[in-house]
């Protein structure tokens, strides 16, 4: 499955690009932030250390969603004034790459996509607002500005510590899930569903002290 393995230009350690969609990788040894080029990688900076949290997930964990095996290859950690959450970047065996969102013990799986409907303006978003995405009705449940703490492993876009984010989460009655990300100029749409953690049959989880 490994598409590309390079040596970190900073420390010489091995750095993997597992997903074809990945353009950024953080060296697990020296935290150098590397951008993939045609033949080589370029270091654009150094990623700040992530906040130690209680997530049972870690890079290398594997699970199954809708009968498709996936591996956790990257992570984006975000925080706001009173809390934080993780977006785990996952590569699926069918070639897709998506996100396993983790916030306050709730999990979601979503993939970047496009919808025919025009997206609401950021200023118009508030919890309770009804939005139709791809013909499916959703309700906004969370509108939040936050800050990127940092990343690890592989990621499909450029990102750095301290970058601001602005995103809204949406759900519907059948636990479909969507994120509208207004962090960049053009808003991005992620579509998926809420998932129960045990249903993902995850292996390679982090050992948490005091819990078997």
């Amino acid at each position: 499955m490994v598409i590309k393995e390079v040596s970190c230009p900073s420390c010489g350690g091995p750095v993997k690009f597992t997903a074809a969609q990945s353009i950024l990788a953080v060296c697990s040894y020296c935290r150098a932030t590397l951008i993939r080029r045609d033949v080589d990688v370029e270091q654009i900076g150094t990623m700040a250390a992530l906040i130690e949290d209680a997530s049972p997930l870690q890079l290398g964990a594997e699970g199954v969603w809708r009968h498709t095996h996936f591996a956790v290859v990257g992570r984006l950690q975000v925080r706001w004034e009173q809390g934080g959450w993780n977006e785990w970047y996952c590569v699926f065996d069918d070639g897709r790459a998506g996100w396993l969102g983790e916030a306050s013990g709730e999990y979601s799986i979503s993939f970047e996509g496009t919808v025919p409907e025009p997206l609401p303006r950021w200023e118009a978003l508030r919890p309770g607002l009804r939005v139709t995405l791809g013909g499916v009705g959703y309700e906004v449940t969370d509108v939040r500005r936050a800050t990127v703490v940092g990343g690890e492993g592989e990621l499909p876009f450029r990102v750095g510590s301290g970058w601001p984010t602005a995103a809204a989460d949406l759900r519907n009655d059948t636990a479909r899930f969507a994120t509208l990300d207004y962090s960049d100029d053009a808003p991005k749409v992620y579509l998926g569903e809420m998932v129960e953690f045990p249903a993902l049959a995850l292996r390679g989880l982090r050992e948490l002290e005091g819990w078997r």
Partner: protein
């Protein structure tokens, strides 16, 4: 560090200070922080404790314990007046219409809406909890289940939960002693009568079927044999000649009842008939009288009738033997009459009595159930209209 509690750490602080840890020694949770209990057959640890209260004229205070399991996430164990509810975040968004909410095919009724604030906090949370923080809390119930929506300017959180018996909470945590006494009826406390309704109904139905079968059996094995058919004419001018004595007749079979039907030609009049059923061998007599009266007419309300020109009597437990019937009418006008005795007639009255008795426990249970629901809804926003409770805080 803090890998077992879900606490958020502050990255900007070199000591990785917990941003969501609030120590408040004044607040003593009913179940200690760090205690582990089994729910959903998995261990959960008490990591946080909140005291919350409504903001407004009427202040309700309740307690929330945050439970944590690294893979199953968070649960809230909420205690109000000795009633416990175990809640978790709802993955989907329930749909609200009017006074009800629907989630996963289940309909919930609105119970209360209030602004709640954090009165005290202890332990650790996945986000920073601030004292005084306010959210709009709305509750819907479908006992034993409950739906809760909490809203502020940034987010809407739905949780779905279920009533938990205090004893079950104590057992889950292996706590000594007994849980606090319950006060009143909990918002989503299941009615002790609701669950049993079906079972009682089935039981009663069984008894009713048995009673009907028994009645049918009586009908099948009863003789229903006409033993005597006697007619006569009464003239008030010759009352002595009015007495008619029947020929001896036989009442056969086992000791059973005898039905007497008397029909007359009375119209806007009455006749009183004395009967005597006399055993021809022993001379033992059963005497009784019946008044037959029938009136009809027409007034401003239309036509009316009162009484009827016939009557029916059952004589229970008449032994087999040869009998005579003496018929002795008296009255103001001439009247023709006919008397028939029928041996061994099954009486549907017993069946109706039995069925009536059988429905009594069901009715009693239904009343108890309504009273229970009344107490539940008396605590809600809708105490005036839907529950018939006593308080009114609409």
């Amino acid at each position: 560090m803090c890998g077992n509690c879900g606490a958020v750490l502050d990255a900007q602080d070199p000591d990785a200070r917990l941003i969501a840890r609030v120590e408040q020694t004044k607040v003593t949770p009913l179940i200690p922080l760090g205690a582990r209990g089994r729910f959903e057959s998995a261990p959960f640890e008490v990591i946080g404790y909140l005291v919350r209260r409504t903001v407004g004229e009427e202040v309700y205070t309740w307690f929330e314990l945050l439970l944590y399991n690294p893979t199953l996430g968070f649960r809230w164990l909420v205690n109000y007046h000795g009633h416990w509810t175990l809640l978790k975040a709802a993955p989907g968004v329930p749909s609200v219409s009017g006074r009800s909410a629907e989630y996963l095919g289940q309909k919930y009724s609105h119970f209360s809406t209030a602004t709640a604030e954090v009165a005290a906090v202890a332990g650790e949370f996945p986000w920073q909890v601030k004292v005084g923080e306010r959210t709009l809390v709305e509750d819907w119930v479908a006992p034993p289940r409950t739906l809760s929506r909490e809203r502020n300017e940034q987010e809407t959180t739905w949780s779905v939960g279920e009533y938990v018996d205090g004893a079950a909470v104590w057992k889950a945590f292996g706590l000594p002693g007994a849980p606090p006494e319950r006060i009143g009826v909990g918002a989503c406390q299941p009615s002790p009568y609701a669950g049993r309704g079906g079972r009682v109904a089935r039981l009663l139905l069984g008894f009713a079927v048995a009673a009907i079968a028994l009645h049918l059996l009586f009908v099948m094995f009863s003789q229903q044999k006409l033993a005597l058919d006697l007619t006569g004419e009464y003239q008030p001018k010759t009352p002595d000649a009015a007495t008619v004595v029947s020929e001896p007749f036989t009442l056969g079979g086992r000791t059973s009842n005898v039905r007497l039907d008397v029909s007359t030609t009375v119209a806007n009049s009455w006749v009183y008939v004395n009967f005597a059923l006399i055993n021809d061998v022993t001379g033992v007599a059963r005497s009784f009288g019946r008044e037959v009266s029938y009136y009809s007419g027409r007034d401003s309300d239309g036509s009316w009738t009162e009484g009827s020109n016939w009557d029916r009597v059952y004589l229970p437990s008449v032994p087999a033997g040869t009998y005579l019937l003496v018929v002795e009418p008296e009255g103001p006008y001439a009247v023709a009459w006919r008397v028939r005795l029928t041996r061994d007639v099954p009486r549907p009255l017993w069946l109706w009595l039995a069925l009536g008795l059988l429905t009594m426990p069901a009715v009693a249970m239904w009343i108890a159930h309504l009273r229970f629901e009344g107490r539940r809804w008396s605590e809600s926003d809708h105490s005036g209209s839907s529950g018939g409770g006593s308080s009114s805080d609409d």
